[in-house]
Symmetry: C2
Subunit: 464 residues, 2 copies
């Protein structure tokens, strides 16, 4: 393939920067554009969550880009969920019965900075900031950019255009509006929104609560979570209905009501939230949506990747990992085709076609899994049946580390299993477990051997 | 309620005209706008199917508007499906074991004309043609109209704006683009498109094939259907993949290939299609999509209705009937609230809120049912298992006319059962039937009493 043809990547967020880095390392000529200011110079967080869950699929993708040594340094391991009850008692629910498995809390900004720094080292790559894509002319393969500061509009022509421009993607909108494409599209909003809050660091720079856990205060129709940051603070997120509920962002409209709500519902959290009211009144309410679409590409010339193709809600901690995995999957097909004796257009057409054929079903699956986990995290985590199941699953994962995997493990720690397969097996297995516990076929006295066989048999039945 | 406040209805198609007629009959002041020319003067059919299936839910809605006497005169009863095999043999599959039940073929244009004529008789209603809605300003409740002939743009302010402007609704687009609304939206295209063709009338003005049936040539991945018109012609529709198949609109690209395809696949139809090649080369390929959205309304001031809220594919023959039923359901809440001692804004808010609460799940259900039937009509109708099931169901409907209803009957002939309930029971019942036949628990020798009990029991099990 002729690598001197320009590749334009819209969006220097997490997936755009990783894609740019990997393509540039292969020698492609990359024009990477970002609508916002350089986050390494200016502090930007508007509309983006501050820290994220980073796990195996993401790690695999960054290892393939050769940057995991650096990234490891900004990871805080979280070994399980620390559930906070109403009476302030807690219990710890490990993510896996295999002791070594954990997920990580990571700063979105710091990770993005590493990706950009690495990308900028390469001579065949440029990053242009404050260059906002307004639309893409698909026939001419030109993208229209606008700089709000200079008020200059620029048309950029490229051989290939990647849309890594997030949930509000301008490329996706252009594909949606192009009548000639039968563009299937879905955006679904949850009735819950979110607001980011914080726990401060301890005076000594340490942590005011357990560092190596994802904290959850599950309360049925609302929930608080907290993830650690390397400076000792925690980013705390309140998930609450927008409206139409006793407690909602609409009804919590005075400082007193906010304080009263936290006092009743999250008393132990409130103790370490000196700035609660100020943060609550200042920080915006975010919306939680799932986006699915198809096709991802147009005539082998443009491709949607990351959130632009499949925004997901945050309840499986897989949004960033799924976007990074897009790049892993895409490179499988770039590697397969780039040296074939075909012209560039034919090569990219094949790459994009096979990429979507593999990836679409998995991106849809993680979108569904994340919505399903929205209900599980809010509700089931604190439910007795769920706790019994979780305890039995931990026993199984401990006894059969290479043979038994919970749904969570399949999704999170099994990066060779596609999301769609993890979803199918995982959901059947969960159903099997709950049925067997409810019918008292299995309980805490069942031997692990019998437990394994019973669950396996029932799961196979359900899948069949 | 103050009825002198202007109500704007965008779109004088089937649902817009019916809504306008019923509101005007109640004394409301109606401004009805249509983007196209008056179809009573100019022959317009572009992008719209010529005839439609008209059944109980639609009939109920038009009876409530007091126009069924007129409409009956343009109905052609279709008592079942006449299936045409590859060898040109046929078999008849009645829509119901109850002899009196049938659906109707009706001309979209003639029906729309009746609705407009009736509406125009009322002094408090005006229809303006060639007035195309470009967008709606939701904050100001103004709609922007454009007349392509005069090139005049007009802003219309109204107390209430209804979007009855079809699948491409300008009101829906304005709601989609308004960031403040969390507008969930989905458009899903089938891989099949359609093309309209025809059978001419006989020389004596009669019909060249059975008049009182919906003709189907099911061929697995493609299908031909034909519905009668009152002038003796049939409107024939070919459903075929757009591409990526041996036979597709992409591959049938010469007159010879088209002729050969029909000769092989639809030989008996070809015999009465003297203009096949000309029609095939002239008529456009249409796309088949399902649209779902929520919310339907904005602050009690605008409401989406008909295809604008829920476009469905044509495979259950319910698109028009569902849109008419919207009006029936809406009036349930207008009747409930219009005389309450509240201000107009409060009344319309309550009406729109309760309307969507009832209607959304049913509109979604008929959208899903229509896609499911896309597979059934193409494939299963000619399948042995399906034929056995259909024969046994006919026996049951005949023996228990008031107790047994097939899924098709529940959807089509049971206008007091919401679509969502028809879908749930109907799908369980279909599954029960197929399981019982496959396991040979029921067959043609089973007594009707036993048949009824077995199917009922299994259906209840599946629902539970």
């Amino acid at each position: 393939m002729d690598k001197k043809q320009k590749i334009l990547i819209i969006g220097a967020g997490l997936s755009g920067s990783l894609l740019a880095l990997r393509l540039a390392k292969k020698g492609y000529l990359i024009d990477l554009r970002e609508s916002r200011k350089d986050l390494r110079i200016t502090n930007i967080s508007a509309g983006k969550s501050i820290n994220l869950a980073f796990s195996d699929r993401g790690i695999k993708a960054l290892a393939l880009a050769g940057i995991m040594d650096q990234v490891m340094k900004i990871c805080i391991p979280m070994k399980g969920r620390l559930i906070h009850n109403l009476d302030s008692s807690v219990f710890f629910s490990p993510y896996s019965g295999r002791g070594d498995k954990h997920i990580n809390s990571i700063s979105r900004g710091d990770l993005n900075a590493i990706l950009m720094n690495e990308a900028e080292k390469l001579p065949n790559l440029t990053i242009t900031f404050e260059s906002e894509c307004k639309k893409v002319n698909l026939k001419k393969n030109t993208a229209h950019f606008y700089n709000a500061k200079t008020e200059i509009t620029e048309k950029v022509k490229a051989a290939i255009i990647f849309g890594a421009d997030g949930a509000g993607s301008a490329l996706r909108k252009s594909m949606f509006l192009q009548r000639e494409i039968l563009f299937s599209f879905s955006q679904q909003w949850l009735k819950h929104g979110y607001k980011e809050l914080s726990f401060p660091a301890a005076n000594n720079g340490g942590f005011l609560t357990e560092k190596n856990a994802l904290h959850i205060w599950p309360r049925g129709t609302y929930m608080l979570i907290a993830l650690p940051n390397i400076d000792g603070t925690f980013t705390v997120t309140l998930f609450l209905p927008h409206s139409d509920a006793k407690y909602s962002f609409e009804t919590l409209n005075t400082s007193d009501k906010v304080l009263q709500f936290f006092k009743e519902q999250f008393p132990d959290a409130l103790e370490i939230m000196p700035n609660l009211v100020e943060e609550f009144n200042t920080n915006p309410v975010g919306a939680l949506g799932t986006i699915k679409c198809s096709p991802y590409s147009y005539k082998g010339k443009t491709l949607l990747i990351g959130d632009a193709a499949h925004a997901v809600v945050p309840f499986y901690g897989q949004g960033m990992n799924a976007s990074f995995e897009d790049v892993t999957v895409l490179f499988k097909y770039i590697d397969k085709y780039e040296n074939k004796a075909l012209n560039n257009a034919e090569i990219w057409s094949k790459i994009f076609y096979e990429y979507e054929k593999e990836r679409k079903k998995d991106a849809d699956a993680i979108g569904d899994l994340a919505v399903e986990n929205y209900f599980e995290m809010r509700d089931h985590v604190a439910n007795d049946l769920f706790k019994k199941k979780r305890a039995l699953e931990m026993k199984l994962e401990d006894a059969y580390p290479d043979r038994y995997f919970s749904k969570y493990s399949r999704v999170t720690f099994n990066d060779s299993m596609p999301y769609s397969v993890a979803k199918k097996i995982g959901n059947a297995q969960d159903k099997a477990f709950l049925n067997l516990i409810e019918d008292d076929v299995i309980n805490e006295n069942t031997s692990v051997k019998e437990l394994f066989d019973k669950v396996k048999q029932k799961t196979d039945e359900i899948i069949a």
